[in-house]
């Protein structure tokens, strides 16, 4: 018992230190957002600002059209999350519950996607979007226009599916008892109905987990919007933060204020979905 307690104390200390390491940059970002540039550049470092001022927030938010940037990020994130949850869970259900020819090979191919770094697929994906037929002035063969470049569709379509999401859903649905399917079949429900009336309503935990992971990934994504958008009215919040990087250096005070505001929605989202998130990870066997 004593030994167990000792281990517990060591464990708490280690985890507290690890948490501190994670928290320090966030705390510094928050504190820096209230400092003046002179204070940031001062050779003497103080964690707390000399005077708390919201000027940086005001200045940051009046540089550029942040309403548009937040709207863009929100539209892209919401659409990508909703569609990806739908597609991933349907595909996960199919792999978990249906027996069809080539299922194993298909799943194997899908798993290859998990091992592929996004940089490898970025250019091919960009080309598909740029040569999307009948979009942005393109003809049937995908030439003549700009395709889906600089559009919401171009930003969202490549994000709505993902190997990780399908894998997670498959694992989750495999834990469901077979008797559920049998009962549904006896009641005359086809596979679509079984999925929508039995599986989907019981998937809150995994959908919350996936939704949260997807939302954070899409909201924080920098590279894809960077290459897919080229006008200010399509700019996302992450791209907008680069406005504080000028020829004469980085305006750290405004950059940090902007970063706090940009991180806030995801912080709130995580707090709200935290319970489901942990539950989802546990029940899908990915702990």
């Amino acid at each position: 018992m004593k030994k167990e307690k000792k281990y517990q104390v060591i464990w708490i200390i280690v985890m507290s230190l690890a948490s501190l390491v994670m928290l320090v940059p966030i705390i510094m970002m928050f504190m820096t957002s209230f400092k003046t540039m002179a204070e940031i550049q001062s050779p003497v470092f103080h964690l707390l600002p000399e005077k708390f001022s919201l000027d940086n927030y005001r200045d940051a938010m009046t540089t550029g059209n942040w309403l548009v940037y937040f709207k863009n990020s929100l539209v892209i994130t919401l659409t990508a999350v909703i569609l990806s949850l739908l597609f991933n869970s349907i595909a996960g259900y199919a792999f978990a519950r249906l027996r069809f020819r080539g299922a194993k090979i298909m799943f194997l191919f899908l798993m290859v996607g998990l091992m592929m770094p996004p940089q490898v697929t970025m250019l091919p994906t960009f080309l598909i979007m740029a040569q999307f037929p009948f979009a942005g002035g393109n003809n049937l063969f995908g030439t003549g226009g700009t395709g889906l470049i600089n559009t919401y569709a171009g930003l969202v379509i490549p994000l709505v599916s993902g190997s990780y999401g399908v894998f997670l859903c498959k694992q989750f649905y495999e834990n469901f008892p077979r008797s559920l399917d049998e009962a549904a079949e006896i009641d005359g429900a086809n596979k679509w109905r079984t999925y929508f009336t039995i599986y989907l309503p019981n998937s809150k935990a995994i959908l919350a987990t996936l939704g949260l992971l997807k939302a954070v990934a899409v909201w924080n994504d920098y590279m894809w919007p960077l290459i897919m958008t080229n006008s200010e009215n399509m700019r996302t919040v992450q791209l907008a933060l680069t406005m504080f990087k000028t020829d004469s250096g980085i305006m750290w005070n405004q950059m940090m204020a902007g970063s706090v505001l940009v991180a806030l929605p995801m912080f709130v989202l995580f707090l709200c979905a935290q319970r489901y998130f942990i539950q989802g990870i546990v029940t899908s066997g990915l702990k």
């Binding site: 020819r101 994906t125 740029a130 040569q131 960077l226 680069t242 406005m243 990087k245 000028t246 020829d247």
Partner: protein, 449 residues
Amino acid sequence: MKFRKVMCALLGTAMILGMAGCGNKGTEELVSKDETAGEAESAEEGQESDSGDAASGEKVKLTFLRAGTDAEKKAFWDKVIADFEAANPDIEIEYQECSYGDDFETKLNTGFASGTAPDVIDFTLASMGVRVPLGQYAALDEFTADWDGTDDYMESALNLGKIGGKLYGIATQPDVRLLIYNKELFEQAGLDPNSPPATWDELEEYHKKLVKKEGDNVVQTGLGIPSSGTAQQHYLTIFALANGEKNLVDEDNNTVLCNSEKTIEAAEFLKKLEDEGIIPWDSSSSDNNPFGSGLAAMTFANTTDFANWNSGALAGKIAMASPLKKEKQATFCGMGFMFMSNETPHKEEAWRFIEYASSADVAWTRYEMMGVPPVRESLKDKYIAENPENNSVIYESVACGVGSPKVAYSNAVFNAVDDAMERIAYGVEDPKTALDKAAQEIQKEIDNQ
């Protein structure tokens, strides 16, 4: 059963689409364009497209991508584009911007790889060494026969845009390193604030007088030489150029010059100053420069840094000095250029935009809105008259300025020399050993090209 079929079809289609993306036409086009430098194809497309647009009377739409995302420059480009479109109603400019560094490179790489590169690009001198050999920037000589800039541009600025005798970039924005000094600290050290150092010997003498120590600690230095960071190579370049060296690399024949006798002599001189006493700083950001906090009496910095310091705590206390001289008077001068994509089907229109954006009128607007020194001889007197004390020094510095070597391996040069200078600054190696090692690294990179 039906559901299974639908699912199979959906999953199969998704996989086929995924695989199609990995081997589609665009990638093949990229290879072919890189191999042929895109010239023939672009020219044909250009003719077809131009004639098509002219026949239909439609506006030609050009995309213009500029490096940087700051609001001040955007306001300038908004004005230039609006004025250009008003004067050229047959052309519409789609403005795009992206922050400097890797982001800009990624954006350009993706554009060129997918055939969606911007028609006109505002970017740096360093990009020429990489993108000209890849055939991504178009040679502009065919358009410059009637261009007034040929005779009016500063020779140094015009030459910076050339590789192998061909003109690829039109210089618009000099980024010159000026010798800046603190008059107040000069006076405190008993030096004449109106007589900054002009030679290496004078610099050494001033530096010694300006260094202040408390015990072993240096509390004030003369020349604020960086001890680490990405701008150390600029300092070495400045002194190597003044010592009569061509550059860190001879771009004409790929000869490494960073360990030449003259460059080593320059590095030894810097080391001598460092041994007198410096305040270590990381030159990756000018925010770290001890000159800004009054701890260094002299530094090399650009006009933007000067303006920032002169509007803050150092207002009225700082001044600019002419470039130092040993064998010759020289300094480092980066440059922003207007480039034309080799892939554009609208070369004629793209040139009209570049010509307009580099005209004397726009150069003056650029100066008025952003303080960028003009690179046209016709504006010299007007420019100097605006602020005789500072602008004469800036103009003189730009005129004798030399930029980074325009080679595909320029990043290797920067990294190797920065590392060497850091080892020298911290006394890990003597200048000759460190620069010989840097030269070996650069040579390896050249051999791998």
